[in-house]
């Protein structure tokens, strides 16, 4: 019996070993799993523009609860302000910050280095695995400030990011996150028609122009102290403090709101509206504008901003882009005698441009000038009695502001 047991045991052992050899291993329920796939990469691209920021550090953070979360990715902007980085992260709101680097002010040509603590931000939604274009500008910085305010006041992060970007985009008339702001001082951006990209470039140039004025009013060379990036920080403070573009923000370690500005030049709703609009037109008229676009092509957008009544302005009544009528000046001194048929010329100028000039004699309308920019009319003195007469000139600018002036001439 024992021999049979030994035989059975030996057979069992050999069978198992043969089975192991044949199968390469034991049984079991596992089959050797493969690892789950990696999350697909989503490329985040864009431009840092205040104007074009070169060698700026781009950091992308998770945007959690309205504050900067973990760092998700980094890049450096190239000579066109372009950056690109890959994110392998779940869908979520993100905060993009630009720091360091330098740019050239559109209005003055002054090169400006970003100082420590000076950043431009953008907040947006990242969809995992999907490409995303995000511009980072003073306007997206404003939206980031508004989003922070909304989040601090109970709005969900997702809604705050959307609402803030929509608000600032609505005010400035373009998609601030996806539109590429073209450098208006670069002849490569010459165009015959206005695009959102050019408009965006003119908005950043307007900020440059306004800060140049603020520099002068502060007694400094343009953009040496008070420049666009400095203003961007103040603008962020302004809107993040109370959700309004009202020139009121927080000082360090203070709870109350204070008046904000660049040096002695204060901010207010109508700096954002009227002044920025005016300075955009100034830049359009400037020799630094290489786009080929003129102020008349930007007039509608400038006026829309100047007259904007968005809630972000806190109900402040807007001041028109230009409240003054055209200035009318005599070419020849009053009192000069004319007879027969003579050509009467006047000089007419206006900030926003003149659209019509009409002439009359003693209130009797003659005609409109064929060229409002160089208005003139032929007057036949033989139809009037001898003596002094009043030649009237009515000029109307592109915003409807009217000036009427009379000149006295003996005919």
């Amino acid at each position: 019996m024992k021999g049979l047991r030994y035989g059975l045991t030996l057979l069992l052992a050999m069978s198992v070993l043969l089975l192991l050899h044949a199968c390469g291993g034991g049984g079991g329920s596992g089959s050797g799993s493969s690892l789950p796939p990696q999350r697909p990469v989503g490329a985040v691209n864009g431009n840092a523009v205040d104007a074009v920021i070169v060698d700026g550090t781009v950091n992308v953070y998770a945007y959690q609860g309205g504050i900067r979360g973990p760092l998700l990715g980094s890049a450096v902007t190239d000579e066109e302000g372009y950056y690109s980085l890959d994110l392998r992260t779940p869908s979520q709101p993100i905060l993009i910050e630009i720091s360091g680097g330098s740019y050239i002010e559109e209005a003055s040509g002054q090169s400006v280095n970003l100082e420590d603590g000076q950043v431009l931000r953008a907040v947006t939604h990242f969809q995992s695995g999907q490409p995303l274009d995000v511009m980072v500008t003073p306007l997206t910085n404003l939206a980031a400030g508004l989003a922070a305010y909304k989040i601090n006041n109970g709005t969900s992060v997702v809604n705050a990011v959307t609402e803030a970007s929509t608000a600032i985009s609505t005010i400035f008339g373009l998609d601030i996150l996806s539109t590429y702001p073209r450098n208006i001082t670069d002849v490569r951006n010459a165009t015959v028609s206005l695009t959102d990209e050019h408009l965006y470039g003119f908005w950043t140039a307007a900020i440059s122009s306004w800060t140049a004025l603020a520099s002068t009013l502060n007694g400094t060379q343009p953009h040496t102290v008070w420049n666009s990036i400095a203003l961007a920080q103040v603008m962020y403070n302004d809107i993040s403090a109370d959700g309004l573009l009202d020139g009121k923000g927080r000082a360090n370690n203070q709870t109350g709101l204070i008046n904000l500005g660049l040096g002695t030049v204060l901010l207010g709703a109508d700096v954002y509206r009227q002044a920025f609009a005016q300075h955009m037109l100034n830049m359009a008229k400037s020799a630094r504008n290489k786009t080929g676009l003129d102020a008349s092509q930007l007039m509608a957008d400038a006026n829309n901003l100047a007259m904007n009544t968005h809630a972000a302005f806190g109900g402040a009544v807007p001041i028109p882009l230009d409240e003054d009528g055209p200035v009318i000046t005599a070419i020849e001194p009053e009192g000069q005698y004319h007879n027969g048929i003579f050509q009467f010329d006047v000089g007419v100028s206006d900030f926003v441009g003149v659209v019509s000039v009409r002439f009359d004699v003693d209130g009797a309308i003659l005609d409109f000038a064929s060229d409002p920019l160089a208005p003139s009319i032929n007057i036949d003195t033989t139809v009037y009695s001898d003596g002094a007469h009043l030649i009237g000139v009515q000029a109307i600018d592109k915003l409807g502001n009217e000036t009427y002036r009379q000149f006295s001439y003996p005919l």
């Binding site: 047991r5 192991l20 390469g24 329920s29 493969s34 789950p36």
Partner: protein, 193 residues
């Protein structure tokens, strides 16, 4: 796999010798196991699986006291969950258990036992995933030699002159970072010729 073969060969040598000398019972079992891994790097989801390699040798010391030796090979894949480590596990080892029969009734005389085992456990493909199920990180493979204390309860029925069928419930507690085990095993026992 070398460890697997060494342990299996050792087990078979022991069984051969014991069976030849004492004429105990040989067994083969299929087990349903619930595995909980003690992982030094974080939580691991519990996982259930079926073990197909469970070999036994049963022998009685005296009336109502017996021991059994068990060879176990088990592997399973644990899917990662958010903030829990996924991994593949293979466990090879032997267990020895001393059991006492409790005569609780005319037809119900279960065995209860206390034992210990030595297991070589390998944890590979260790990884974490994010909340959407994508791979977040991989962790290096690890292996341990795990001493496991076990308690069990079993009952059995005679199927024929040569075969018995047993059912065993077992709880195994690792004494280091290994696998904690709950298992239910059906064992076909061969009583010999």
């Amino acid at each position: 796999m070398p460890f697997f073969r060494i342990v299996l060969a050792s087990f078979l040598l022991f069984v051969s010798a014991a069976y030849a000398a004492e004429g105990g019972r040989l067994g083969y079992g299929i087990s349903l196991q619930n595995v909980a891994v003690e992982d030094p790097d974080g939580d691991v989801p519990t996982e259930s699986g079926i073990g197909f390699v469970n070999l036994y040798y049963f022998d009685e010391f005296r009336r109502d006291i017996r021991y059994y030796a068990e060879f176990v090979y088990f592997e399973t894949d644990i899917d990662a969950k958010y903030q829990k480590i996924g991994q593949d596990i293979s466990s090879t080892g032997i267990r020895a258990v001393l059991q006492k029969r409790l005569r609780l009734g005319r037809h119900f005389k279960p065995w209860v036992g206390l034992g210990g085992g030595l297991f070589r456990e390998e944890f590979t493909q260790r990884h974490t995933i994010d909340q959407d199920g994508f791979l977040l990180s991989t962790l290096s493979a690890r292996d341990i030699t795990n001493f496991m204390v076990s308690v069990d309860a079993a009952t059995e029925w005679e199927l024929s002159n040569r075969f018995d069928l047993g059912v065993r419930l077992l709880y195994g507690l690792p004494l280091n970072d290994g696998t904690q085990l709950y298992s239910a095993t059906a064992i076909l026992m061969f009583k010999g010729f």
